[in-house]
């Protein structure tokens, strides 16, 4: 019984950790996407400025 309980606990812990990792990765993915958009916006406006100068 004890052994069964122990393996249950660790299964729960593994599930919790999996959830934490998934949450973290989802948050990081979101940020990296935003960052990519920001950077392309920046380079775009930089290009436009250059064109204006020319």
């Amino acid at each position: 019984d004890d052994a069964a309980e122990e393996s249950n606990v660790s299964a729960e812990l593994i599930a919790l950790r999996k959830r934490l990792v998934d949450e973290w990765n989802a948050w990081r993915t979101l940020h990296k996407k935003e960052l990519g958009e920001q950077k392309s916006l920046k380079s775009q406006s930089a290009r436009e400025e250059k064109e204006e100068i020319e």
């Binding site: 593994i14 950790r17 934490l20 973290w24 990765n25 990081r28 940020h31 990296k32």
Partner: protein, 334 residues
């Protein structure tokens, strides 16, 4: 993981910083000096002399051309990294407690102390990189007094003209440096002084440490608390380990309280916590007093800690650090 002991400072360390490549380690101290060392072997490359008081803070630009420092002699100084020459000195009514470059190295933000009728002030300076760097403008580009609790730490965010600050009260806030307006705040980010703030590589999140014994990861855009690490000692520094899901914490009781506890010699430890699971995973001991400042190599290959004991210890991670997967095979993004 045999540490390299950097001996050269005669008093406690206040801040340490790697340059972008990580080959150089800059250290400043209450002994009025700044030193620069080769991080791979601990050899001292040079000293930046000229300050007449404790050097509280420093930062290096992304090209490793200029270094900026703030000190108790009320000066902000710009140094040439390669020659050790002081290129420019700004003077204020009170001590400079924190400095930081922006991502491009074109601007510097600094915090001056609240003292003798002077309010805490935040100033932003443009850094003129033309010529030899001695031609700087005396006047700040922007200056303001943050409302409420005084600021203790600061850094530029990704948004132009927006800085993130940590405060004496435990508050973490976003300020527009142009208008001095507080854009957003988290009054209860910590319940005591914020002692350190270090950004992730992409500046989208940061880690803070506090005397309230906790460290936290915040989203730099909206100040949301993402993670909390609760320890049992006041924390002086927190650092993010690139490429591995770990954070490093350093602290310890104040020197004056040490004798009243059972703290033994060399027992002040750098604590490693799992960044995502918020669990402590290990400690590295060695310092003879509280750890004041921690920095991790930008490539994640080593870390350095600076202590109240006047020593800097550089620890190069061994293979097992990179191989170990203490919580299984899950892929964790940086």
């Amino acid at each position: 993981m045999r540490p390299i002991l950097l001996q050269g400072h005669e008093r406690s360390l206040t801040q340490i910083k790697f340059n972008v490549e990580g080959d150089l380690l800059f250290t400043c101290s209450k002994d009025n000096f700044i030193n620069v060392w080769f991080s791979h072997n601990g050899e001292r490359l040079g000293t930046y002399a000229g300050n007449n008081g404790s050097v509280w803070t420093l930062d290096v630009d992304p090209e490793s051309r200029f270094m900026i420092s703030g000190a108790a002699d009320n000066t902000l100084r710009l140094w040439a990294v390669s020659t050790g020459k002081c290129l420019y000195t700004w003077e204020f009514p009170t001590a400079v407690k924190r400095v930081a470059f922006n991502e491009e190295g074109t601007q510097v933000v600094c915090i001056t102390e609240q003292r003798m009728g002077h309010q805490c002030a935040i100033r932003v300076f443009n850094i003129n990189k033309d010529g030899d760097g001695t031609n700087q403008s005396k006047e700040p580009l922007y200056m303001f007094n943050p409302i409420g609790s005084k600021a203790t730490v600061c850094a530029f965010t990704l948004t132009p003209n927006v800085i993130i600050t940590g405060h004496e009260s435990g508050k973490v806030a976003l300020f527009n440096v142009k208008s001095g307006e507080e854009i957003d705040n988290n009054e209860r980010a910590h319940s005591d002084v914020v002692t350190d703030l270090q950004l992730s590589k992409d500046r989208t999140y940061c880690i803070t440490s506090s005397k309230d014994k906790a460290a936290r990861i915040h989203d730099t855009k909206n100040l949301m608390v993402i993670k909390t690490y609760n320890t049992e000692t006041p924390l002086n520094s927190a650092s993010l380990a690139p490429n591995r899901p770990y954070i490093l914490l350093g602290g310890g009781q104040e020197a004056m309280n040490v004798t009243t506890t059972s703290a033994r010699q060399g027992k002040f430890e750098t604590r490693f916590w799992h960044k995502v699971f918020e669990e402590e995973i290990g400690r590295v001991k060695g310092h003879f007093g509280p750890i004041n400042t921690i920095a991790v190599h930008p490539g994640g290959t080593c870390y350095a800690s600076g202590g109240e004991d006047g020593f800097v210890r550089v620890h190069h991670f061994d293979d097992s650090y990179f191989r170990s997967k203490p919580y299984g095979d899950m892929e964790i993004m940086d």
